[in-house]
Amino acid sequence: MPDLRRAATDSGDPAHFSSYDVAVVGGGVAGLSVAWRTARRGMSVVVVDPSPGSGATHASAGMLAPVSEVTYTEEPLLRLGLASLAMWPRFRDDLEGESGIALDYRSDGTLDVGYGADDMAHLEDLASFEESIGLRVERLTGRQCRSLEPMLSPAVRGGLLARDDAWVNPRLLVRALLAALAKAGGALVDERAEGLAADGDRVTGVRLASGEVVEAGAVVVAAGSWSPALVPGLPVRPVKGQILRLRGPEGFLTRCVRGLVHGAAAYLVPRGDGEITLGATMEEMGFDGRVTAGAVYELLRDARELVPGVTELELAETTVGFRPGTPDNLPLVGPLGPPGLLAATGHYRGGVLLAPITAETVAGLLTGDAGLFEDPVPQVMRACDPGRFTPGRLSP
């Protein structure tokens, strides 16, 4: 990890932080992306996080899969995801170029498979819905599925191929963002933010656990599930996810494989180094960091139904993460009300997918320059205005 802390304290007294244009609280994929894109536009930026990339991003599978994750009632989220997915190739090129770190970005699509008649009926329902809203999806027979992915169980009856879905390794993404941020002149304060500093209504910085204040012209809250600790009343809650990482031979799978196993959804995401991420539970358990026997059992059981060979792989890691969920599953991106305070949080299951559009939107709002967009806040992003929940009622 590049030593960004030193950049923050170069001014001399290590206990005193200079003033920045922008302080971003939270060094997950949302906060780091915002910081990097804002720093690239010439602003002085500091990220406050005791351990960047260790929250939801660390657990994430890194799927960029708006098509295969589509559900009824969530078309605004789909449109947002598609817009961000379209921005990903350029985001990746810039990031890989500036950081020198490859993200293991892969764009071979998602294969969504089914077993029994019930699962197939569900997939057909999904395909009809996807087509009705103009998405591209292909129906495959069981044999076609298995010719694409020979490790699939012979019991697979058929599937849907979403060719436009992609994925990255979120841990490489964090490393690359930290490196690119350092290169763009960004700083890191590896301490915990305790609260916001304010002068009357105006937010003037971030108060650290040590009592010191990092002064900034604007503060972006990107603390995921922990955001309400900084902005009381922010409607973000932790949605616990348990996720496994297996290790095996490279090429064991070549695409993201999802499946319904007797009604329960499971997915396997292969990496270039042979790792396979296997997920994930969705639990309303608050900040419960325990890995449970039942979750590990059920994830492996369902994955084995899809891909029988997984039980021969090494079980390399069991992880718990807390997705920052909002009441409507859309993120909170934009001004929070008090001058100088913005949000880039609440990305729930889509932090990695939505990083480019979030970063570009917030950088545009901070610099007053819409950049890639025609408007400072692109149309698809307007549904994410934090004011939709508590208009004018948030205070530092």
Binding site: P235, E283, G286
Partner: protein
């Protein structure tokens, strides 16, 4: 409905009174907002939540939605396979939610999610003895329903079809037999796919309907919730009105001679 005088038609359950006869479940809702809208449209006064993947004190979760709406929370023991687990789960729920009501659900296998009658009965006896208001989920078995009533359950909740199947009421005759014999409320639980299923349950004489997936997994959960509310009301009203007997041949609606 406004023209009809139906003043005292309230559901008495566990010593409390309710005007809505539609009990909702929360499973399968894509977001809290969608669930919230569906609950509003349903007009429900009781909603059941699975205790096994829920922290009752976690802020901003489904329980907050229910509390905000003043909906009674009915904890359930979904996911339990043994009487022991179910009793433990019910006790944890009582402590956490400060309610002695429990929807008792002990399943026999994961493929069908059918209730295990023996474990359910065992758990029901223990929970009744422990002071719980027990609402057991059971197969459409009139004999078991009677035994659970005798054991002190506050209601019986026979299935129409397996959980989440949307197959409707597969054995209306058994539901009628359960209704005929029961002195406690009969709540049709599981299998409802669409509004006509809910209406049928009420026409058969059930006192209430419990459903989740039919609404939460619908393309428009809010609309389906409104449909279910209307269906339960329609079915209940038809039951009270008394239907005409079915006949083999036509009978003129305006006969020349009236008998």
């Amino acid at each position: 409905m406004t023209m009809v005088d139906m003043p005292d038609d309230v559901l008495s359950l566990g010593g409390e009174k309710f005007t809505s006869r539609l009990i909702m479940g929360t499973g399968g809702a894509p977001s809290l907002d969608v669930l919230d809208q569906a609950l509003e449209e349903s007009g429900t006064e009781i909603t059941t939540v699975a205790m096994r993947r829920l922290d009752p004190v976690a802020r901003g979760s489904v329980l907050d939605v229910l509390r905000r709406r003043g909906i009674k929370v009915l904890p359930n023991t979904a996911g339990c396979f043994t009487a022991g687990e179910a009793v433990l789960t019910a006790r944890l729920a009582r402590e956490a939610l400060e309610t002695n009501w429990v929807k008792l659900e002990v399943i026999a296998d994961e493929r069908t999610l059918l209730p295990d009658p023996i474990e359910t009965f065992d758990a029901a006896e223990r929970l009744v003895a422990d002071g719980f208001v027990v609402l057991p989920y059971i197969g459409d078995d009139p004999a078991l329903a009677r035994r659970l009533e005798q054991a002190g359950c506050a209601a019986v909740m026979p299935l129409g079809a397996p959980i989440g199947s949307g197959l409707g009421i597969r054995n209306p005759h058994n539901i009628e037999l359960i209704v005929e014999a029961a002195e406690v409320p009969v709540i049709l639980d599981a299998g409802i796919g669409t509004a006509s299923d809910a209406a049928l349950a009420m026409e058969l004489g059930c006192d209430a309907v419990l459903l989740a997936s039919a609404v939460t997994r619908a393309q428009r959960p809010d609309l389906m919730a409104a449909a279910m509310r209307a269906a339960v009301t329609a079915g209940r009203t038809a039951r009270l009105a008394g239907r005409i007997p079915m006949k083999r041949y036509a009978e003129a609606s305006s006969p020349a001679r009236q008998g």
